[in-house]
Structures are given as structure tokens and as C-alpha cells.
């Protein structure tokens, strides 16, 4: 990724209280970014996402953003209070934080919500309570809320965790379409094979940035060992790197 992007981190360290989770991270997100932040649990993936979003201030280093940058964030499904009393329509409308004097939606806003729900194939669920949706539909609802902001950068925390394989494919294809339309996309994942191999750019994190680049350049045993702290084998399948646990025999797999 080139410098002077939409979001730039320069030698950023960050954490919670006195605990530093990320050390000396330099990263630049430009408008062509379609990148996965990978690493084991506790590696600082979500912390990095929160630094990029500006939710955590760096303890050292600097974060700069393009003027009047519009970002949207899709949280992990597990962190959401699904019993909160909102319908799908009410939830998606939250993206439009500015409203006229009256809080209820204008005709234009109703149309915009309907259009984005339609694009994501959940138009018929607008009046349902959020708890009544499947995991895939919940993910689409949050994507709808994010898209309604018409962001330049879309950040997603583990977007395919807790959803079935079809939804995972759907989400990845949708993100690919959005990227093709010119939206920068950054997501975290711990799923190396399911997600990472489909993304054009990866950032391997384990307290610091171990490596970043195209999958074929970073999905290599030396980087994976430093990132995950375990020996992992990499096989090639249809030109795509596939990671297998080191416990497996490479002889069997080939």
C-alpha cells in the first residue's frame, strides 16, 4: 500500500491502560485497499482495527486520516446485544446520525434504507426484530447499516466468524464487489484458509506487524511461525496457498 492514504499509522503503539498490545505499527490504507488482518487470538487484530477507527488513541506514534474521511465499522456479531429492542429498519437507519428536527425518517431516508436492504437481499426483513435473523442475515444487516453511510473505508471485525460456509462466500463476494466499486476494505480474521487466501493483501499481526503483502508472499512457513507461534505447513492448491497444521504429515498431504 502506498503512503498518504486514507488512514496512515506511523510507528503506532497502543493498548489498554498500562498494557501495550500493539508495538510500533506502521500501516497505510489507501482507496484500493482490500486487506485482511490475520493473527492468533490475542495478537492485537481488533486493537489494530480500533486504532485505525480512532477508538483507541495511540500511546506513541501518530494516526492521520484524509480530511473529512467517512468510515464505517461492522462489529463482531458476538459483541452485539441481540435483545435490544430495534427492528432491522431502525438498526440500519442508525447510520444516518444527522436528522431533521423530527427524528423519524424522511421519505428519502426510507427509500435509501429500502434500497440498501434490497441490495443485500434482506428487504423483506425490514420490520423484523434483529434477534429473529439468522447469522448471515445479521451480518448483512450490519453491512447495510455500514453501506448507508457511503463510506470510503469499510472496516469489519471477524465478518465471517459464526456464519455458515455459504454466507462466508456471499460476504466475500459482496466485499469484492464493493472493493471493485472503489471502497477500501479492511477486515480481521483468524481463518487463514477460508478468508485470507481470497484477499489480495494480508497483514500478519502478533503484537506487531510480522509481514504484509500478497498472500503468496506472506503465507509462508517462516511468517506463519512468527505470527502464530506454531509450525505450519503451506501447500499449493490451484495456485492458492493452503495452510495445514504442522502436526499433519506433508507426505500424506501431497
Amino acid at each position: 500500500m502506498t503512503s498518504a492514504g486514507l488512514i496512515d499509522l506511523a510507528s503506532v503503539s497502543a493498548g489498554y491502560g498500562r498494557t501495550t498490545v500493539l508495538h510500533d505499527v506502521s500501516l497505510s490504507i489507501d482507496s484500493t485497499a482490500f486487506s485482511g488482518i490475520v493473527g492468533p487470538s490475542g495478537a492485537g487484530k481488533t486493537t489494530l482495527l480500533r486504532v485505525l477507527l480512532g477508538l483507541i488513541k495511540p500511546s506513541s506514534g501518530t494516526r492521520t486520516t484524509a480530511p473529512s474521511l467517512r468510515v464505517a465499522y461492522v462489529p463482531q456479531l458476538e459483541t452485539v446485544d441481540w435483545k435490544f429492542p430495534v427492528t432491522v429498519f431502525e438498526c440500519v437507519l442508525m447510520a444516518r446520525t444527522e436528522h431533521r428536527f423530527w427524528p423519524w425518517p424522511s421519505a428519502q431516508e426510507r427509500q435509501a434504507v429500502a434500497a440498501v436492504l434490497d441490495r443485500l437481499g434482506i428487504a423483506d426483513l425490514a420490520d423484523r426484530h434483529i434477534r429473529e435473523l439468522s447469522g448471515g442475515q445479521q451480518q448483512r444487516m450490519f453491512l447495510a447499516r455500514a453501506l448507508l453511510r457511503e463510506p470510503q473505508v469499510l472496516l469489519l471485525d471477524e465478518p465471517t466468524s459464526g456464519v455458515d460456509i455459504n454466507t462466508r462466500h456471499d460476504v466475500l463476494h459482496l466485499l469484492g464487489d464493493l472493493h471493485n466499486d472503489g471502497m477500501a476494505i479492511i477486515l480481521t480474521t483468524h481463518d487463514l484458509n477460508g478468508m485470507a487466501a481470497h484477499l489480495p493483501h494480508l497483514v500478519c499481526v502478533n503484537g506487531h506487524v510480522v509481514a504484509e503483502g500478497a498472500p503468496r508472499d506472506v503465507i509462508v512457513p517462516s511468517v506463519l511461525e512468527e505470527t502464530f507461534g506454531a509450525r505450519l505447513e503451506v501447500l499449493q492448491h490451484l495456485g492458492m496457498p493452503i495452510v495445514v497444521d504442522g502436526a499433519y504429515s506433508t507426505r500424506e498431504a501431497t
Binding site: V71, Y73, K83, F84, T87, C91, T97
Partner: protein, 290 residues
């Protein structure tokens, strides 16, 4: 009909009915945010803290005691959220220490110097005796402030209540919205304290909101239903209080409790499922770095 009209011939009851009804509506309205944010215990604590300010201010500046108690309550609210947010002391412990100390101070001052306003038990359990016109005006002013705040900040309030982290990422100043909500809560408790009573205000913040939650899955409807339920509790409780000869606050809360049981029974499993997740937390979520 006679039963409804007869008490209205007394001026004190007219004022009491007006204040109780408006108080119920105000607490029901603002209680939706308190309950959904898991802040019920803060409401409970704040009413006790404000009692301390109320007692102290009566001694030092009788004519300004409402203002002084309000500032005391707001200071307590900010102290609680600040301590809880920093994460050094748990929110429950922070509320416990700050508010009970303030309450204890109020009791000590009342015991030592007496009160120029309502008697001790009246302050605790609510009374409609001696309601002044200025109290009614204060109540209406706070209702207008609360109404305007929710109207102008509706989506920001909803977003920060539902998901403060995503709200912050979406450009909402979450800390400022929360501080404003705490100020409105403090003022609401202050102006309803005399009729509902220190020990019972928290119940009226919670009961209408939980009843409304059992009846709907929509946030907008919950806000409306909770306000109407609070209003009805104030109205019916006031009449029952008159005929039963018990403090107004106790009867208003008992009416709310009966309404809760009826709705709980009528809405069945669906209602119980809806209410199950309400107020699982007991303090502000300390996820946003100020």
C-alpha cells in the same frame, strides 16, 4: 365517577395529581434509556445522592435548594461515570461509595438540624403535601428539557445506547451524549423526588420501561408505551394513595408492580423473552476511551 371527582375538590390533591402524573411520564420516558443502558443502579444511587444535596442545600441556601441539589446530583453523576469509566473501581462499587455517603450525609443533616421543607419520611417515600407552584414549574421545565434532548438527539442516543463503540466510530461524540443524558437523569430525579420519594424513584425509572419492553420489539414504540405507563401509574397511584391514606410514592410504585405482573402474565413466553436481556449490566460500558 364521584370517586374520581371528589378528591379534586382539594387544591393539594389537584397539584399532587398533576405532579404525580407528569413525574410518572417523565420517569417512564427517560427510564427507557436508563434500563436499556443497564444503568438502573445508577438511577437508584443518584436519587440517594441527590437527597444528600437536598438536605445540605436546605441548610445553606434555602431559597436555592433545588438548584443546589441539582448541581449536587449532576456532580455525583459525573463522579460516578468518571470513576467507572477509568476502570479503577467497578461501577457498582463507585455508585455504592459515592451515593450512600451522600445519602448518609443527608440523613445526618436532617437529623441534626431538621428540615425547612418536607419531613424526613415524606422525603423518603413521597408526599403531595406542600407542593408549591415553583415545584410544578421546575417539573415542567425539566420535562421540556428532556423532551427536547431526546427529540434533537434521538438517533445519537439510540445508537450510543445500542452500540457505543460503533456509534463512536461513526462520528458520534459518545462521551458528550452520555454526559448530557446523566444531567437530564439527575434533573428528572430531582424534580420528581418529592412526590415519588427518594427510595422509590428508581422503581419508576425501571418498571414502566420493562413493561414497555415486554409489549414491543421496536425502540420508538417502547419510548411511547413507557411514557404512557409511567403516566398511568402516577395517575392511578395518586387516587389510590388518597383513598388508602398511604404515601404517594409507595402507591404509585405498587400500581406499577401490579401492572408489571399483569403484563408479565398476559404476554407469556414472548414477553419474558423480550424482557430477559433488559439491564444485564449494572454500569456504563467502559469501552470508549474518553
Amino acid at each position: 365517577m364521584e370517586t374520581l371527582i371528589e378528591p379534586l375538590s382539594f387544591a393539594f390533591f389537584q397539584k399532587g395529581l398533576l405532579v404525580a402524573t407528569l413525574s410518572g411520564a417523565l420517569l417512564g420516558f427517560i427510564g427507557v434509556y436508563i434500563v436499556l443502558r443497564g444503568m438502573s443502579y445508577i438511577g437508584h444511587g443518584l436519587s440517594h445522592a441527590i437527597f444528600g444535596g437536598y438536605a445540605a442545600m436546605q441548610l445553606f441556601a434555602v431559597q436555592f435548594y433545588v438548584l443546589g441539589a441539582g448541581l449536587w446530583g449532576i456532580a455525583s453523576a459525573i463522579a460516578i461515570t468518571t470513576v467507572a469509566r477509568r476502570g479503577r473501581v467497578g461501577a457498582d462499587a463507585a455508585i455504592g461509595v459515592i451515593t450512600t455517603a451522600s445519602f448518609a450525609l443527608g440523613v445526618a443533616l436532617f437529623s441534626k438540624f431538621g428540615s425547612s421543607g418536607p419531613a424526613f419520611d415524606q422525603a423518603l417515600f413521597g408526599s403531595i403535601l406542600g407542593i408549591t407552584n415553583s415545584q410544578i414549574i421546575w417539573l415542567v421545565v425539566v420535562m421540556l428539557i428532556a423532551g427536547a434532548f431526546v427529540l434533537l438527539r434521538y438517533r445519537e442516543l439510540l445508537f450510543t445506547t445500542f452500540d457505543p463503540e460503533v456509534a463512536q466510530a461513526s462520528g458520534i461524540r459518545v462521551v458528550r451524549v452520555e454526559a448530557m443524558l446523566m444531567i437530564v437523569l439527575s434533573l428528572s430525579i430531582l424534580v420528581t423526588l418529592t412526590v415519588i420519594g427518594v427510595t422509590l424513584v428508581a422503581a419508576m425509572l425501571v418498571i414502566p420501561a420493562v413493561i414497555a419492553r415486554m409489549l414491543t420489539d421496536s425502540f420508538g414504540r417502547m419510548l411511547g408505551i413507557s411514557t404512557v405507563v409511567g403516566l398511568a401509574c402516577g395517575l392511578i397511584g395518586m387516587y389510590l394513595s388518597y383513598y388508602a391514606g398511604v404515601p404517594s410514592g409507595t402507591m404509585i410504585v405498587l400500581v406499577g408492580a401490579v401492572a408489571f405482573l399483569v403484563v408479565f402474565a398476559v404476554t407469556g413466553i414472548r414477553g419474558r423473552e423480550r424482557a430477559a436481556g433488559v439491564d444485564e449490566h449494572s454500569g456504563p460500558r467502559a469501552t470508549i476511551s474518553a
